[in-house]
Symmetry: C2
Subunit: 292 residues, 2 copies
């Protein structure tokens, strides 16, 4: 199996699990429709794939941790729904489709986000898996810390506050480390935690994910300037329109491209002590050339 | 110590813990201010007190589970912030003060709610407590289930959908069981879980809390009609204004009063197998005569 086929297999497993996770639930209005509308809207599933693969790399059973991988995607999806709200980024399109609040209205969109954030923890804590409870507590705690006001929520606060202001490079770095980096790092670290990895392994995986997360974000900024709207599924140039300072506005596209290459290299080097890091190295490299 | 003094002591412990829990955190804009604004706005602290006291009644160490009690209050507070939003109930006042979005704006209010919901799980999962990890997973899972789309979030969906429509008694009961009952039950059950209570004890505590939660909600409906605005800290008559069907609109004040008395009696009876349920019986009775 090639790495590309393996990634496809991981992704299909995640899709299958997500498609069935709310099946048969009592309707309560259209809340589950709204949650599934965004949860099943495609997407790269980068975070769950990272979790599954760091788990494998640390000798764990990826099948067993699938609910945790999908829980991270629920959390990521909630953040997209709330970020798109009229009072936040006020976006109409996401992955080529109208945003959640455009379809279900603002109130349901807020609640769909709340529902997914809560379902994320319910999924992890009620998972019928044969794993020591200590690992479940540590993995879910790692995610909660990364997602909260010291992590992703804090990043969104800085992002809102930064609109229309010029930010310094260090500020953009902190903002992105919180807003997207924290969750990517947590996903990677959780796989290691659930596999029973050592402290050294956790630190190495964190280092890998931090480099990868930053490269991923810079690539996003590049794509917002020179990507393909059809492939991206949303109008480009939104950073400029919202007067956001990005890596590209600070450094220019060429320097950013070099930075992405350098960070990708460093991400791969962080895994050098593992016996078989080849998939995760390939994954890092494959993100450099991505078009969406 | 009288029961009233004991309740006061529980409440002060909760207040102290909540006041220090975000101390020293990096600011990230005004997100922590916004979270604390609502978290420290007073309130009865009914849910944390229930958790502490069911833990005691089941032979557990209430001191050790204080972070869990406070986590439930964080979750309750997030739900109030989001319920008050313009796209939801659009309330300007809460506990005698402007609502969160009136002070911090809508975007920060959404994020403060998200931050508190996440902090709730972070608090439970990262608590430095000497408790078996299995109990932490079970207690946090119990709360997640009660808070999500099958519980509190689902109740808010039904509440929004029910505005302007006449609901049948069974519908109002289901709505309230989800919207307020589920969280009150979870708080009570968590205390029992954390104390290592048996399945029978958990079932008895759940029965107690379900009766108490329903009585609490009916009393709320009565107070919305004939309470004192100063004591309530918000304008009354809001149910009528929002065309909400309540127990009072369906049954009238007198029948509701009888119902509250009957449910309170049943709540107390549910605890008959415990050696010392006197505080929780007193608590149930004390809520009947409450003015806010």
């Amino acid at each position: 199996m090639t790495h590309a086929e393996r990634m496809q297999q991981d992704r299909e497993q995640v899709e299958r699990w997500l498609r069935q996770c709310f099946a048969g639930r009592e309707p309560h209005g259209d809340i589950y429709d709204a949650m599934e509308y965004s949860l099943l809207a495609g997407g790269k599933r980068l975070r769950p794939i990272l979790l599954l693969e760091t788990c494998r790399m640390c000798g764990g059973d990826a099948e067993a941790v699938l609910p945790f991988a999908c829980a991270v995607e629920m959390l990521h999806t909630y953040s997209l729904i709330h970020d798109d709200l009229p009072c936040m980024d006020n976006d109409d399109l996401r992955r080529g489709r109208p945003t959640n609040h455009k379809v279900y209205g603002e109130a349901t969109a807020v609640l769909a986000g709340d529902g997914l954030l809560t379902a994320c923890f319910e999924t992890m804590l009620e998972a019928q898996v044969d794993l020591p409870a200590e690992r479940i507590v540590a993995a879910a705690g790692c995610l909660a810390r990364a997602a909260g006001a010291r992590g992703m929520v804090g990043g969104q606060v800085l992002d809102m506050a930064g609109e229309g202001h010029a930010l310094a490079l260090a500020e953009v770095e902190e903002l992105q480390q919180l807003k997207t980096g924290a969750l990517i790092s947590a996903a990677a670290e959780m796989g290691c935690i659930l596999a029973g990895g050592s402290e050294e392994q956790r630190a190495a995986v964190r280092r890998y994910a931090q480099k990868l997360g930053l490269a991923f974000q810079i690539q996003d900024d590049i794509l917002d300037v020179e990507g393909d709207e059809t492939l991206m599924g949303k109008p480009l140039g939104s950073d400029q329109e919202n007067e956001k300072t990005t890596f590209v506005t600070l450094k220019g596209v060429e320097t950013c491209r070099e930075l992405v290459a350098k960070l990708t290299q460093e991400a791969m080097e962080a895994l050098s002590a593992f016996p078989d890091p080849s998939f995760l190295c390939w994954l890092a490299e494959s993100l450099v050339g991505r078009k969406n």
